[in-house]
């Protein structure tokens, strides 16, 4: 007897369709799984057997062959358990084979016959959109988030059999409100006292998706500021939301639990993170890294200098291309990596940085600054010095502008930018810059002076113009860029090694 059941496995952040073919034939009783299953997948035999027996369903005393087609691709994870169990029942004639063509099954089985949730339910369901998909009850939220097709659920294997034979009703999609993830508590910008320049830098960064580097002593509030940036970003559109939900669902972060992700994600990996944790990959599983998890949101790297140099340099290519191509011997995947990078660091080993108060000598400072490669520093459009707010600002009763006020300005500036070339200002190409960000005579003069004085490199020249475009958009000047915008753009691009160069200068 033969039965074929539809299911899916996860590769990277995408699901891929798998047909579970079960054949029960004459021969010595036995059970083989073929089609490149991994260890977890092969163990499904024991789980399925126990689940069938505890559900009072028969285990066939025949020679069973389970093929996972396409047999050339490696399958991983326990998400095929339910499909194998259903296939076994159908192969024994306990379920009608014809109706199985309307369903797909994605769930792990417990030894007691219960259905267990799996990682990446969103992506898996997207791989089986042409059928009604059965998942564990815990997966119902994220599974229904991304798809319009019917997602069904049952608590146990026995219930699945009952429903398939029409003796019982499926548990269907849950109420609509679950589909919109509950807004998490996002800290408000009004908590930040004083520090007008950094507030402005956050606003510009959010409006133009400009990567931001915060440099300041301990206690200046760098982490606090970075956490508030995510609240300034607009909520994700449908396409972004589905992509973000797929990524988060595939590693089961707390974001994906309640359905479609609408808020920009915020990720702050510790500085001991490995290269694989950061960019993704690993074994055949190809997990998404932090840069993919932060897609459409903020990736915050605190203590930038403490990250392994190789990890930091691995960020350079995804920063440019907005996706990450991961290739391994068996597979290669492309994962989104469209994040806003915010990094924080101390200005020097003693952390003080103030001229006169800093106790570091030049050699120590130079060694510290050498940790950041020039090409990486160059990718930060905004580099801002953060100083500790003074006491009068800290205890003043007047709060700064709140997140909602600033977010409204950010949204206006973003829509201006999108109306030009359909992207944020940081994505403008050099050719687009000329038409999108025309300079006034005075502004041109100022930039020429900066270039001649050696304060700007060729790449810096274009970056400054992009930032100036965003500043002009925020201040309600959608056409020409004048020198006031450029002055601010230049001041928000501090060269932290300049002090060293001046001091080392010879007569």
């Amino acid at each position: 007897m033969f039965a074929s059941v539809r299911s899916a496995t996860l590769l990277g952040v995408r699901g891929s369709r798998v047909d579970v073919e079960v054949h029960a034939g004459i021969g010595l009783p036995g059970f083989t799984v073929v089609g490149q299953p991994d260890e977890v997948c092969r163990e499904s035999r024991d789980r399925v057997r126990a689940a069938l027996l505890s559900s009072d369903l028969p285990w066939p005393t025949r020679r069973i062959t389970v093929n996972l087609a396409p047999s050339g691709d490696r399958k991983s994870g326990a998400c095929l358990d339910l499909a194998i169990a259903v296939g076994l029942l159908a192969a024994q004639g306990l379920l009608p084979v014809e109706i199985l063509s309307q369903y797909a099954f994605i769930a792990e089985l417990g030894l007691d016959g219960s259905l267990r949730p799996v990682r990446g339910a969103t992506s898996l369901v997207l791989a089986t959109v042409d059928r009604q998909t059965v998942v564990a009850p815990e997966n119902l939220g994220e599974a229904s988030a991304a798809t319009v097709t019917q997602v069904l659920s049952a608590k146990t294997l026995f219930q699945v059999v009952e429903c398939l034979s029409g003796r019982s009703e499926w548990r269907k999609e849950i109420s609509k409100q679950v589909l919109i993830s509950k807004s998490k508590f996002v800290p408000d910008l009004a908590d930040v006292q004083g520090q007008p320049v950094v507030r402005q830098a956050l606003e510009i960064s959010a409006a133009g998706s400009h990567h931001l580097l915060l440099v300041g002593p301990p206690g200046a509030g760098k982490t606090m500021l970075a956490e508030r940036l995510v609240g300034l970003l607009p909520s994700l559109n449908d396409e972004q939301a589905i992509s973000a939900t797929m990524i988060h669902s595939s590693v089961q972060t707390e974001f994906s639990k309640c359905g479609l992700i609408r808020d920009a994600p915020y990720r702050a990996p510790h500085h001991s993170s490995s290269m694989v944790a950061m960019v993704g990959g690993g074994t055949a599983l190809m997990r998404p890294g932090e840069i993919s998890l932060a897609s459409h949101g903020v990736l915050f790297l605190d203590e930038l200098g403490e990250f392994a140099p190789s990890v930091l340099d691995a960020l350079r290519q995804p920063l440019e291309q907005r996706v990450v191509h991961l290739a391994r011997a068996r597979t290669s995947v492309v994962m989104p990596a469209e994040f806003l990078l915010v990094a924080a660091t101390n200005p020097c080993p003693c952390g003080e940085g103030t001229p006169g108060a800093c106790t570091c000598d030049d050699v120590a400072r130079a060694r510290y600054l050498r940790r950041f490669s020039g090409p990486l520093l160059d990718r930060f459009d905004l580099r801002v010095a953060v100083s500790r707010p003074n006491t009068t600002d800290l205890i003043s009763p007047t709060a700064g502008e709140s997140t909602s006020v600033v977010a409204a300005r950010v949204a206006r500036a973003r829509s201006l930018a999108f109306s030009r070339f359909g992207g944020t200002n940081s994505t403008l190409t050099r050719q687009q810059l000329d038409s999108a960000a025309p300079l006034t005579k005075k502004a041109e003069e100022l930039l020429r002076k900066e270039l001649e004085a050696g304060h700007l490199t060729g790449r810096g020249y274009h970056r400054v113009r992009r930032v100036a475009r965003t500043i002009a958009d925020l201040t309600g000047a959608p056409q020409m860029i004048d020198e006031t915008h450029l002055h601010l753009a230049l001041l928000l691009r501090v060269d932290f090694a300049s002090g060293l160069r001046t001091r080392a200068m010879q007569v």
Binding site: P347, V384, S387, S498
Partner: protein, 355 residues
């Protein structure tokens, strides 16, 4: 004996004075330290030859207490060095001598001031003595050398702690050579001695002894400059200090000195007066080539003067919108009234920097 690698200046001094014979010292050492010292002493003769070889190779000259060219200022000192190694010409010390010291991590204004005061002193034929350390010391030397470029002027003298063939700090290598060529570079340590911590206070005592007047430009309340000040006070050398803003950490030490009764100075003129070289009436007016500021800019500059500030500080104190503040900073920088280093800004009150 005096050339022993880790010699004790007091013992060496006793040997030169004839109060102790080299042999006695060695046997005393033997009693105290035993065999190790004996073995070390065996090496002494070799070491002495070695050092002599080294001196000849790198052109280092030696003067011993009692020699013709031994600096006269040191003869009557409390703890004169028995031997001095030097490059250049010790006659540089025959003019009036002013010591200049200060912190190694100086602010931009501190560096400019040091170079200007040294330059003006050298122009008035004063020999500027300093320690060739990072920060104030190096900039004082730079200013003094600058004065030598255009006309005859007082020649700079540097007293360093390490051996003369061990350049420390490395970044002053060029300055090291220039001073050796155009003034004098002095050390009490034998060639090859590394810049060990104990050598610096010893160096500071020579620096203080060579100065008629000691000028402290910027100093924190602890640190090497304060040791030099103590040594100067032991020798009744006049100490002058450049005052700074109480907010500026780099000026804590000098402000404290002034509080304790030390005379404040604001330029080279005041130092010349202290030396009895008052020539204020003969001087031409100092010309500041910078564009005069508008009233509003002037008030911004005077508001921010005194200590380094950030863009944030400027926005808060000036009550301007961020974008207007950026324009003001850009304008003032272009006019040369403020400078930026690593995100910190400073008002430059003296005229153009001597780069």
């Amino acid at each position: 004996m005096t050339l022993l690698k880790h010699h004790d200046p007091q013992t060496a001094w006793a040997v030169v004075q004839g109060r102790a014979k080299p042999n006695e010292v060695v046997s005393a050492m033997l009693r105290v330290e035993g065999l190790v010292t004996l073995l070390r002493h065996r090496a002494t003769q070799d070491l002495q030859d070695q050092i002599e070889q080294r001196c000849i190779r790198s052109g280092i000259k030696i003067t011993i207490f009692g020699d013709e060219n031994y600096p006269r200022a040191l003869i009557a000192d409390l703890a004169p060095p028995a031997v001095l190694f030097y490059f250049g010409d010790l006659s540089a010390l025959n003019s009036r001598r002013v010591g200049m010291v200060g912190t190694r991590s100086a602010t931009a204004s501190g560096r400019y001031l040091a170079s200007h005061i040294a330059h003006d002193l050298a122009t008035n034929d004063v020999c500027v003595v300093s320690g060739l350390a990072r920060g104030i010391d190096a900039w004082a030397h730079r200013g003094a050398l600058r004065a030598l470029e255009s006309r005859s002027a007082g020649r700079p003298v540097a007293v360093v702690a390490s051996g003369l063939d061990v350049v420390y700090p490395r970044e002053n290598a060029q300055l090291w050579q220039d001073i050796a060529k155009r003034g004098a570079l002095i050390s009490e340590s034998a060639p090859g001695s590394p810049p060990e911590a104990f050598r610096f206070p010893l160096r500071n005592r020579i620096l203080a002894a060579l100065s008629e007047v000691l000028v402290v430009v910027e100093s924190r309340d602890t640190g090497g400059s304060m040791i030099t000040v103590d040594e100067a006070q032991k020798r009744d050398v006049t100490v002058l200090a450049v005052p700074g803003s109480p907010r500026n950490v780099a000026s804590n030490g000098t402000n404290q000195l002034i509080q304790q009764g030390c005379l404040p100075i604001i330029g080279a003129q005041d130092v010349l007066v202290a030396l009895g070289l008052d020539n204020r009436r003969a001087q031409e007016n100092i010309y500041d080539p910078r564009v005069r500021l508008s009233t509003s800019d002037q008030s911004l500059v005077s508001m921010m003067a005194g200590s380094p500030f950030t863009f944030d500080d400027f926005v808060i104190r000036s009550c301007l919108a961020t974008i207007d503040a950026a324009v003001s900073l850009g304008r003032l920088e272009a006019l040369g009234w403020i400078v930026e280093n690593s995100g910190w800004w400073e008002v430059i009150e003296v005229r153009q920097p001597l780069y």
